[in-house]
Symmetry: C2
Subunit: 374 residues, 2 copies
């Protein structure tokens, strides 16, 4: 069992909770009862409608909080029945950055879209490629996803048109939430990167591939991804994931000093189901760049971090076909639709499809596709 934090609503009031499996603590009530005095300013922090005040306290306070929450969970402190507690969006997103840190994903995309060139662009092994996404449309697990409309050029048509995406996709990702902010103008050294990260979630970076293919040059993905990005409702603190850190293969070429560290990754098995059928199994071990490298790169120009920044990994694909983390790769851009165990095939998502991302001890991300509106 693993500690996780979230925000839940019971009787119309939002407050911070901690859970371990199906035991859920009301930290606001426990703080009011004086049982969380190890955490600075506990009453304010735990009666907030987001984890941001807790996350802003920094790593010393987080350690104290985790320790106390574990004691209270072990101690048979009063718990809240899950039936009456609705989990909400756990944190307010400041900036959302999405990286592109899986070698197999980047290679597959290159093979599909630039078949006459080296699949990996020359910068890929030198720095963690990334871009900014839309923070305002990050939604909690379970939020229905309306099939987006958008401008795309349908093969065979004489001109681009505006209509429902015909290539709606998932992206299996993990995300890291910034707790402790940093100063503008001051890069965070790689060895201090993890001090700024509060915890980890799963992320489904929904993508309209037809919109993306048409819009993305030269400034990158925009509306193809900005309609919705789903995250877990419970955030697992990084301290809980220490034992899952494993050595990773050496990076070649060796990164520049500001990105240099002993190669490592989290060993967290991941699974994607579509209407209950497993369609992909991957693992966070398949990431080439670590989150410490991502954070050091993100701030190497002096950009500041804010509490609530979300750093996602990009699609996590492994070397095998069944380890590919999106339908673009699984169906090879629709040319090889996948067979579903329960019958039928999929190139891209259909209306009504329900996708679940899971990866114990992280918390799941669920999303169901609703038809385009209008």
């Amino acid at each position: 069992m693993t500690l996780a934090y979230g925000v839940f609503n019971e009787g119309g009031r939002a407050r911070v909770g901690a859970r371990d499996g199906d035991r859920l603590l009301d930290l606001a009530a426990l703080a009011a009862a004086g049982r969380l005095d190890a955490v600075p300013d506990a009453e304010r922090v735990f009666s907030a409608a987001a984890l941001n005040p807790l996350m802003a306290l920094g790593p010393d306070a987080w350690r104290a909080c985790h320790q106390r929450a574990r004691e209270l969970l072990a101690d048979e402190a009063p718990t809240v029945p899950f039936e009456s507690a609705e989990a909400l969006m756990p944190f307010e997103v400041a900036d959302y950055v999405d990286f592109y840190s899986s070698l197999h994903h980047a290679t597959n995309v290159g093979l599909m879209f630039r078949p006459d060139q080296e699949p990996l662009l020359p910068n890929w092994r030198r720095l963690p490629v990334g871009y900014h996404g839309r923070a305002g449309t990050v939604v909690p697990s379970g939020t229905p996803v309306v099939r987006p409309r958008g401008q795309r050029w349908v093969p065979g048509d004489e001109a681009p048109s505006y209509g429902p995406s015909l290539a709606l996709d998932i992206e299996l990702e993990a995300g890291f939430v910034v707790g402790q902010p940093s100063e503008l103008g001051e890069p965070v050294p790689i060895e201090r990167a993890l001090d700024h990260l509060f915890g980890m979630v799963l992320v489904n970076d929904w993508s309209a591939r037809d919109v993306q293919a048409w819009e993305y040059r030269p400034l990158g993905p925009f509306l193809a991804k900005s309609f919705a990005t789903s995250v877990s409702r419970w955030v697992v603190p990084l301290e809980e994931l220490e034992d899952l850190r494993v050595p990773n293969e050496p990076q070649e070429p060796e990164p520049l000093p500001y990105l240099r560290e002993e190669p490592w990754a989290y060993d967290i098995p991941l699974e994607v189901t579509l209407n209950g059928d497993v369609i992909a199994r991957s693992n966070t071990r398949h990431l080439y760049w670590s989150v410490a490298q991502q954070l050091a790169h993100l701030t190497c120009n002096g950009a500041s971090l804010r509490t609530g920044d979300l750093l996602a990994t990009g699609t996590i694909s492994g070397p095998e076909r069944e380890q590919r983390g999106c339908l673009l790769e699984l169906s090879w851009n629709g040319q090889e639709p996948i067979e579903l165990a329960s019958g039928g095939t999929r190139a891209y998502l259909e209306d009504g499809d329900e996708i679940v991302l899971s990866g114990d001890p992280l918390h799941e991300v669920v999303g169901r596709i609703e038809p385009a509106r209008g």
Copy 2:
């Protein structure tokens, strides 16, 4: 003279102000004195440390507010001496989106970077190309800009390296601030776009061209622009700019229906000075896509707007050489350094350089380059 809103600090307390030239009203004090009762919830709205509560009220309340502020300014209501009022960042940025809406800018960039191809990519005349920038590093005019370090491949070197940008640039832009939010899943029709926009600022989207050239494929600009983006400290409400709307040339090809309107632009002359020498003169008339088209496109996939979203135009360049809005174009990527009237030349910015963007009735954006740190 033109009404503008901002936030200022006097005696340690931030509050909302309205100004016309050098007459500055303390709207918090006037609300407390019952002189702004035309505005809903005036005491709360004007004692905030950001314009966001005012902006969230929507267009009916804005109209009432502008009307009342003009009366109070004309009426010789008590004003605050500028010497004792420090203007702050005027609004909290939700998401920051930067477009690429000047035909001449996009054409020049294409000519430089893809000399063997059509300078405009095929999507450019079909949709307002844009991308998300970093909201957390938008800073108010006057904030010093530290020369960013970053990873770039210096010509002649065997490998990329990490160090101070050798091609630090400006971008002359305008920006529009969202007031009224919109619902997730509900595109804003183009004819309602302006109802969501509170006001306009100037924007300097500082850019490290060497970092950009190395990092930007395939996901777009990232660290090349995320170290700082400067905006005016005073926001001019769109209502004040109505008389500056002028017809624009027909767009060819005709845009899709969701982007279709009578072509128009704001006629606002713009100027860039470097250490006091004018280095560029442009005009918001040179924008191909209107802000209404940008906003309709941004939401056409169902992405929601939040109060505080900033929509910038991208570099505003005209057809003539002296109308180019960035040094990349003015010096043709450093190959033709510009001559400064007061002596010396510039390919890109040097430490100590001070850049001022101005464009009456918008408020200026000033920034001075400090040497790289560390």
